[in-house]
């Protein structure tokens, strides 16, 4: 008897439900919502056995599924997860449930299409994390652009078309270079798209460097790293709340995941040679973007910049090549998934009521929305990396790893303690604290049960991961150790 194909289920359940919802059409909005929620919950349920059945002792791929897809080019439907990708499948399935609930009332037009877009994207994103075949990966990677493009372009704000096109072209441009790199590797490996085979493929330095930059263009845009980050603030500002949440929580992780799945293991020598370059860009993200975030006047833009700074920690952690750094970066990715989603959902809660994202339009929200203010306080604190929240764990580990690597890198990374607190809490102060600023704030109603449920679930995740991160890290030890050992060996 074949084992249950859990990975396929996490991919195809959401996609099939998405198509089903699409088939209902917008006339049955209530039915579309309910079906979407069932689909998202089933997707989440299908991802749970991955964690419970995961063997943390090995760095090998697990839940592997392999069948030919396009035999002529030796392209296979090849899936599997290790300790690195596992958590992202779970995170993605979890966030999907939340965004479906978040769009419950605030989306009134084309409900079915909206829900379908999120479900299909969820399946596609699981596909990205689970693919072990490079061409399959590429297809999922590119396919994820389409639903997000539509989400921004259809349900977005006034300037949505500019943002959607910028988002699409920016990321498409990067990934075309990756396609070239994939074809080159296909050729070099004697006609294989198996990522695991490529990791063992010996490569001279020059092609490694060229390939590194080809991958870099694709992944750095996604992360996004400075200086190819400017699409993100625009995309976030225009995207609907759910779109922002998924964009920040999951889509940004694709770039970082690409680095750790492709660049590092396939091109270890180039990674070492260019580590200084990557670290520099990461630190620019922490310091430069931290300062830019400080002066934003639009809440979503501010959180978008804060996302870039936090993702800087991820790329920094990868390229200091020690266990604290790499595990810290992975933890940071998961934590950022919770925290940034929560922050964007919080802004969404206010936007639904006030139709403004401008900090200056707010003030004294705590007076009318105390429950909301307390929850947002928690997320704000997580955003500045307060201990006992998930935000601390990753930052702490990366800073520890960086200080082990070099004093000044750690020093600059640690400035996030100051910048992160400054931009987050200053915004919180201007929006939430103070006397009631205007009539609109005075009329605000506190969050309802549905909004409370979403934020409370995220709060539990943030606190749980902060107080007891061990269950998150223990599944990744074997894989990270495997990766670090692999990286220590030259391919030249």
């Amino acid at each position: 008897m074949n084992p249950t194909p859990w990975l396929s289920l996490t991919i195809w359940i959401p996609i099939l439900f998405g198509l089903l919802v699409l088939a209902f059409g917008d006339r049955h909005a209530a039915l579309a919502r309910q079906t979407a929620l069932i689909g998202a919950l089933l997707g989440l349920a299908a991802s749970l056995p991955l964690y419970t059945g995961f063997d943390a002792q090995t760095s090998a791929m697990q839940f592997v599924e392999l069948s030919p897809w396009i035999p002529r080019f030796n392209i296979n439907y090849h899936l599997g997860v290790d300790g690195i990708s596992l958590l992202f499948v779970l995170l993605n399935s979890f966030i999907t449930v939340l965004v479906v609930i978040a769009g419950w009332e605030s989306i009134k037009q084309r409900v079915a299409q909206y829900m379908a877009a999120f479900l299909i994207m969820s399946g596609v994103l699981n596909g990205v994390f689970a693919s072990l075949d490079a061409m399959l990966f590429y297809v999922f990677f590119e396919a994820s652009l389409i639903p997000m493009y539509l989400i921004i372009g259809v349900w977005g704000g006034p300037n949505r078309v500019y943002a959607a096109v910028k988002f699409f072209l920016y990321t498409l441009f990067g990934s075309l270079l990756m396609l070239v790199a994939l074809l080159y590797l296909y050729d070099k490996s004697g006609g294989s798209f198996a990522i695991l085979d490529w990791q063992k493929l010996p490569l001279p330095m020059a092609p490694q460097i060229v390939l590194f930059f080809a991958f870099f263009m694709a992944f750095a845009v996604k992360v996004p790293m400075w200086p190819v980050h400017t699409w993100l603030p625009d995309a976030h500002v225009e995207a609907p709340t759910g779109g922002s949440a998924v964009l920040a929580a999951i889509l940004l992780k694709l770039g970082a995941y690409g680095f750790i799945r492709f660049s590092l293991p396939i091109l270890p020598d180039a990674s070492h040679a260019l580590a200084g370059f990557m670290i520099t860009l990461s630190l620019i993200a922490v310091v430069y973007i931290g300062l830019v975030a400080l002066v934003q006047t639009d809440m979503k833009k501010l959180i978008a910049y804060s996302s870039i700074a936090h993702m800087g920690f991820v790329t920094l952690g990868f390229f200091i090549f020690n266990a604290y750094g790499v595990e810290g970066a992975l933890v940071q990715m998961v934590s950022h998934g919770f925290v940034s989603a929560a922050m964007f959902l919080c802004v969404g809660v206010m936007y639904d009521r006030m139709h403004s994202r401008n900090i200056a339009d707010y003030g004294g929200v705590v007076n009318t929305m105390p429950k909301f203010a307390s929850l947002m306080m928690l997320f704000a604190m997580a955003n500045c990396g307060l201990p006992a929240t998930s935000g601390f764990v990753g930052e702490f580990m990366v800073i520890m790893g960086a200080l082990k690597h070099s004093f000044w890198i750690g020093f600059l990374a640690a400035t996030t303690l100051i910048f992160g607190a400054a931009y987050t809490l200053w915004m919180y102060k201007r929006v939430i604290f103070g006397a009631v600023a205007n009539d609109h704030v005075a009329k605000l109603k506190d969050i309802g049960a549905r909004e409370f449920l979403i934020l409370a679930l995220l709060a539990l995740a943030v606190l749980g991961m902060g107080l007891y991160p061990q269950p998150f890290t223990e599944v990744m030890h074997a894989s990270v150790n495997g990766l670090l050992q692999h990286l220590a060996v030259s391919k030249l």
Binding site: K166, Y170, P227, T230, W231, Y288, L291, V292, A293, L294, V295, Q296, N322, A323, Y324, E327, G328, G364, V366, N367, M377, M381, C384, L386, P387, A388, F392, V393, F396, M397, I399, M400, A402, L403, K404, F407, W408, G410, F411, A414, T415, L417, I418, A421, A422, L425, W426, K429, I432, F433, G434, A435, L467, Y468, P469, Q470, T473, E474, H477
Partner: protein, 667 residues
């Protein structure tokens, strides 16, 4: 016993959670009962553990593994020894007093339940901090007390000053934490563990290790680590130049000024350095740094207290100065003396703050001493207890502060660490100023003319917002003594403000701290002091003939002359020395400088990077520039696609002509 250890932090946490999450359900009385019960349990458990530790039962063990990464395990665990247990008793006792006091002080505040939840949460965090056996948990507690402090300073969140002050406090503390985290990171990088015991065990082997932070300049690793850690202490314990947040923190309700910003949280830095004595002892550079910073804080902050009119701010600057004393003691390797002063100060400063709070509610939230005066007739208990606090603060025998302060002076005097001479001058001069500002406060508020009547006409000052309506004393135009929930804690804290000093023989010279504090043989000034110590009474008698006593007394006498005998004189002096007074009123200009340089500078750079870097160069030039170039080329190409047949025909003919020319013209 292990269950009891867990009970100490968890009981206040449970209280905080119930009061915080179920505040509406359990009501106001429910909230104060549940938190007070929690803290009472913590207090009695701490006392039981205290007694147990006196029997030699030291505990060092882990509760759970927080995280493993690479080869390192990060644990949550407890180290229960004489150092931590002393802190546990002090923290839970002062916290209990403040909880009881709060029933009276916050009686009419709409945020009653929230306040109790916060102070219990604070108690939990502080206890976790002092009970920790490793640096991660220390940092947890460190940041957690910072957050609760942030929430409490901004408790009255509609006041612009309060929410400015809490943000400032958090950010300044974050600057300290930045150094602290770097210290911790260096420890992990070089020692491979963050467990206190394992780190201390490796210290002897690391004494000579150097690091080159600036290439070519080797520094002692231990010095760099200690200075990093101490920068953390400078933030939390408000040492110059990171002291700027503490005076502003007085925007919070008075009970937390007593609990957090005087007795417990701000002493976390002192405790931490004492805990790290095996590290600090190995670095003379770090100790000198500590001495100088402490000395500056002790003297210059005391000076500001002399010119303040806000009763809470006087006490706040006095706290800064006293924290400077403790820091000086640490720098002189007299950790036990620093801890001793921490303990006595916790009691007498809590009395002063809570007493000030009692006055403030009696006068309907008036904090300006110019509108007080003559209150001793109306508030005898408050007066007496505050007088005890002031006497202790000034360091006069037989009050607690005398013993601890005198020991600090003695220890610094005997220290040979570079910088000790400077620090000695600072703390000695500070004693005079301490006497002056302490008694200025007493005379100003409780003696002399009754100035509160003049402003009674204004009634409730509108500037204080909605939280003013406490209703204590009603509207009978005469302030009167606060209810028992306020005076009882005052009395209970006044007793140790006198008597806790008499334990000096045990705490300092009886080897109380034992192995919890390490002092290197070269720094044994304390042993010398132990030789000369012959009991409490002898020390007091000896004190009467020593310089500090006369300094403190003359400070008090000057205050008496200025504010009782010749009350017109201070005004004249202020005018005459307006230059100096202005510098002090401006607090040496730190706030202005920080606002301009750091806050303004960061915003300016941020705006520049955003507008020039992101908008103009990256988006304008690179992204949209690329799009424009593509569009421009497209526009050029479009010119050829006019849609007119004759254009195409003409172009084709030219093309054919060119091709033919090339074909036939080829060599």
């Amino acid at each position: 016993m292990q269950q009891l250890y867990l009970l100490v932090p968890l009981a206040p946490l449970a209280g905080a959670l119930i009061a915080g999450l179920g505040g509406r359900a359990i009501g106001r009385a429910g909230a104060h009962w549940v938190t007070i019960i929690g803290v009472t349990i913590a207090f009695f458990a701490s006392v039981a553990i205290f007694l147990d530790v006196q029997n030699g039962n030291v505990y060092n063990g882990s509760v759970y593994t927080w995280l493993t990464s690479g080869e390192t395990r990060f644990e949550i665990g407890f180290l229960i020894d004489r150092l931590s247990v002393l802190m546990m008793v002090v923290v839970s006792f002062v916290s209990l007093m403040v909880h009881i006091y709060t029933i009276g002080y916050m009686a009419d505040d709409p945020g009653y339940q929230r306040f109790f939840a916060y102070i219990s949460l604070f108690t939990f965090s502080m206890l976790m901090l002092v009970m920790s056996n490793n640096f991660v948990q220390l940092f947890f507690g460190w940041e957690a007390v910072g957050v609760v402090s942030y929430l409490l300073i901004g408790f009255w969140y509609t006041r612009p000053t309060a929410i400015y002050a809490n943000l400032k406090a958090f950010l300044v503390n974050r600057v300290g934490d930045f150094g602290f985290l770097i210290g911790i990171g260096l420890i992990l990088a070089h020692f491979g563990t963050l467990d206190y015991a394992s780190v201390f065990a490796q210290v002897p082997g690391m004494v000579k290790t150097t690091v080159e932070i600036i290439p070519g300049v080797p520094w002692l690793l231990i010095s760099v680590i200690c200075i990093g850690l101490f920068i953390g202490a400078m933030g939390k314990s408000a040492q110059f130049p990171l002291h700027v947040w503490l005076p502003d923190s007085m925007e919070g309700p008075t009970p937390i000024s007593a609990l957090i910003h005087a007795a417990t949280m701000v002493t976390a830095g002192i405790f931490m350095v004492s805990r790290m004595s095996p590290l600090f002892e190995m670095s003379d550079a770090a100790l000198s740094f500590v001495l100088v910073i402490g000395g500056i804080t002790a003297f210059f902050m005391a000076l500001i207290a002399v010119v303040q009119y806000d009763i809470k701010r006087v006490i706040a600057y006095s706290t800064l100065s006293q924290l400077g004393y403790m820091t000086v003691a640490l720098g002189a390797s007299a950790y036990s003396v620093g801890m001793f002063h921490l303990m006595t100060h916790a009691f007498f400063k809590a009395v002063l703050f809570l007493g000030a709070g009692s006055v403030i509610i009696a006068l309907h939230h008036e904090q300006d001493m110019r509108k007080m005066g003559g209150l001793r007739k109306y508030m005898p208990i408050t007066y007496l207890t505050m007088l005890i606090g002031a006497l202790a603060n000034a360091g006069l025998p037989p009050f607690a502060g005398f013993f601890s302060k005198d020991s600090i002076l003695e220890a610094v005097h005997l220290s040979h660490t570079p910088g000790a001479g400077f620090a000695y001058l600072m703390v000695l001069a500070g004693v005079f100023v301490g006497g002056l500002y302490s008694f200025r406060l007493i005379f100003y508020a409780f003696h002399g003319e009754e100035r509160f009547r003049a402003q009674e006409a204004h009634g409730h000052d509108a500037g204080h917002g909605a939280h003013d309506e406490h209703g204590h004393g009603g509207h009978d135009h005469v302030p009167h003594e606060s209810p028992w929930v306020v005076t009882l804690p005052l009395v209970l804290l006044a007793i140790p403000s006198i008597a806790s000093g008499w334990t000096i023989g045990t705490v300092l010279y009886g080897g109380y701290f034992g192995s919890a504090i390490y002092i290197s043989p070269e720094h044994e000034g304390l042993a010398e002091m132990a030789h000369e110590y012959h009991g409490v009474l002898t020390m007091m008698l000896h004190g009467l003939s020593s310089l500090p006593f006369w300094f403190a007394l003359s400070g008090a006498l000057v205050a008496w002359y200025l504010y009782i005998v010749n009350p017109a004189l201070p005004g004249v002096l202020r005018q005459k020395f307006s230059f100096v007074v202005n510098i002090l009123m401006e607090k040496y200009g730190f706030d202005r400088f920080n606002d301009w340089f750091f806050a303004g500078g960061a915003r300016g750079i941020g705006r520049g990077l955003w507008k020039i870097g992101d908008v103009a160069i990256i988006d304008g030039l690179m992204v949209n520039g690329t799009a424009r170039v593509v569009g421009w080329i497209g526009g050029l190409v479009r010119l050829f696609q006019s849609g007119y047949i004759y254009h195409y025909a003409f172009t084709m003919i030219i093309g054919v002509f060119v091709l033919l020319t090339l074909w036939f013209g080829r060599p």
